[in-house]
């Protein structure tokens, strides 16, 4: 099947936004960026439509273009096979931009927010940036113009202390106005130190460790009951796995065969006061999840292509929930912050300058 898809068709498949847009505007955008004649793209779009990979109405009964279930599957596979997912164009608040640039900008935003707030969990936010970006920019079905869309995919930031990274991504996706980001942890701001559902785009209030997976189980159960195709993603910290409720929820999810639930463990190897393996050993981690009835796989949690591959593999799992042990680096992206040094330390003006320079 893939062999029959040409380069132009791949471009179309991978550039269909997850929000409603007209086929013409999507094709015009691709045409402009890749210097491909619009008529060529139109012909290829027609073929994709005939293959039932994309769906759109013909004028005058216009409706937006969207990927079909099969189309989304192939699109995700195709993106994963691109030599650099970094180069993939993703839709942001300010139009289509390369994913790699977006991720760098997200790290800069996280640094600025925490420096401005004077406190926050920098290391744990930076390790999760790539995972959050892939979820919100490529993988998840959601609509910033309609945050309460019933059939959207859900995301629970169970490691709620990575809130700055979530806020940065939500802003880039169009949920939070960028000028509000610098109000992090300020009195009167919605952007509390840990996420609150009051913020458009935040699907669960978290912050107290250990509770997010149970919430995700409830969402996945509701989706099954409603026959909705919506998936639920839960991002867990590796230190957070010390909490017993996580394992209660793991049992509940497996018992109910929640194959629409994916947990991602941000395995940065550290918790607040030191290495996870020295404080309460968790290895062999994937085996633990498997013995709880989950499909478990490992990925490089700071490599977008690896994360996307693993997420796509989760879509194929049936009859049980899936978990990705995403191997990450705490403080990822800034050489002198990697490790546990900036678990709770806030960069001063000089450090912020140095860090931002590394990201340019």
């Amino acid at each position: 099947m893939l062999r029959t898809i040409n380069k132009n068709q791949v471009l179309i498949l991978t550039n269909i936004p997850r929000v409603p847009a007209s086929i013409t505007s999507v094709l015009r955008g691709i045409s402009r960026r890749h210097k491909i004649p619009l008529s060529t793209l139109k012909r290829n779009a027609q073929i994709l439509k005939e293959f039932n990979l994309i769906a759109y109405g013909d004028p005058p009964n216009f409706s937006g273009v969207e990927l079909t279930e099969l189309g989304r599957f192939i699109s995700n596979l195709t993106v994963g096979e691109e030599p650099t997912v970094h180069g993939n164009m993703v839709q942001t608040r300010s139009g289509f931009r390369p994913l790699g640039t977006v991720i760098k900008d997200l790290r800069k935003t996280v640094l600025r927010m925490i420096a401005e707030a004077g406190s926050g969990h920098l290391g744990a936010s930076l390790s999760a940036v790539d995972i959050l970006a892939i979820l919100y920019m490529i993988k998840m079905k959601h609509d910033p113009k309609n945050p309460s869309w019933k059939d959207r995919d859900r995301f629970v930031l169970s490691k709620g202390h990575a809130a700055p990274a979530l806020y940065a991504v939500l802003s880039e996706a169009g949920y939070i106005s960028p000028d509000r980001l610098m109000t992090l942890r300020e009195i009167g701001s919605q952007l509390q130190g840990h996420p609150d559902m009051e913020i458009p785009g935040v699907d669960a209030s978290t912050g107290s460790l250990g509770q997010g997976l149970s919430i995700g189980v409830g969402m996945a159960l509701a989706s099954k009951m409603d026959g909705s195709g919506s998936r639920t993603y839960v991002l867990l910290g590796d230190g957070e796995l010390n909490e017993g409720q996580i394992w209660e929820a793991a049992l509940t999810a497996a018992h109910h065969g929640l194959d629409n639930l994916t947990a991602i463990v941000d395995r940065n190897g550290y918790q607040l006061t030191g290495r996870t393996e020295e404080i309460k050993a968790m290895d062999p981690l994937a085996d633990k999840w498997r013995s709880f009835g989950w499909e478990a796989m490992e990925a490089d949690g700071n490599d977008p292509a690896s994360i996307l591959d693993a997420l796509n593999a989760c879509d194929l799992t049936t009859g049980k929930p899936s978990v990705i042990i995403a191997m990450t680096t705490k403080g990822k992206g800034i050489s002198f912050m990697e490790g546990n040094k900036y678990s709770r330390k806030t960069p001063d003006a000089q450090e912020l300058k140095r860090a931002l320079k590394e990201l340019t």
Binding site: K150, A204, Q211, M219, A222, T252
Partner: protein
Amino acid sequence: MAQNASQLEHFGRALVDLGLINEELVVLDPDVAASTKVTYFAERFPERFIRIGISEQDMIGVAAGLAASGKTPVACGFAMFVACRSWEQISSSVARPELNVKIVGSHSGLSPNADGDSHQTYGDVAVMRVIPDMKVVVPADAPEAVEALGAIVDTPGPAYLRLARGATPVAYTEGCEFTLGRANVMRDGSDASVIANGVMVPIALEAAGSLAREGISVKVVDMHTVKPLDTDAIVKAAAETGAIVTAEEHSVIGGLGSAVAETLVEKRPTPMERVGIMDRFGESSRSYSALMAKMGLTSDAIEEAVRETMRRK
């Protein structure tokens, strides 16, 4: 006294009726369905009955997720474990985002008499009451439990309903008047007021009856909703009778007695006595009434408290 009836039996059947009307209603069970009587719902709506296993904290989180996706979850377990053990989950995952989760604590107070003090619940009202915007309801008997359940399901947002194990005396008739946050005056009187809730309401009526034979006229108020509290009814009772006694099957610390005292101190200082569990643990007893008597939750104790407040007028 009137006959006895089981709050849980009536609650269990009422859940089925509500399930017929409200298709989003789902019931979660931490493996105590046979005791809490949610088995009726499970038989009628198996697809809306969710087995969680013995993990109350997880159950509260799952309920939060269901509510965030538009369901009306009723999470029902033993009061000590669903309310007290899971307090922080209720506060953080449910109440903070004001999710529409209904928490039902069965086997409350001393009602699991034979099980002993590991199962007896003395602080659930206190810990639920302290959570911002949480509604806390302690119905007097089986008919009121049915109306209270309907009211909390009809009212958006989190709520806690406290129910007793076993058959308890009945003070109301089926279909009784119930408004969330509005106390019911059960009996008028002029010398003192007993403000009670839960199983202490029928006992307060018994006390009022025997005091009447001594020529003491006692008003009895059923304060079924501890939060939001009907402060007007408390101030009115204080103004009319000048002496207040509270009666609850709960610690005198943090529950109805505390809530009434807080109101009186701020709005109308009045001589007051509290009847309840006096800062101590219970114990196993094969007889519920013997345990209630040993713990001081009797008509006699209320009568003595009424005389004491009247002396202090």
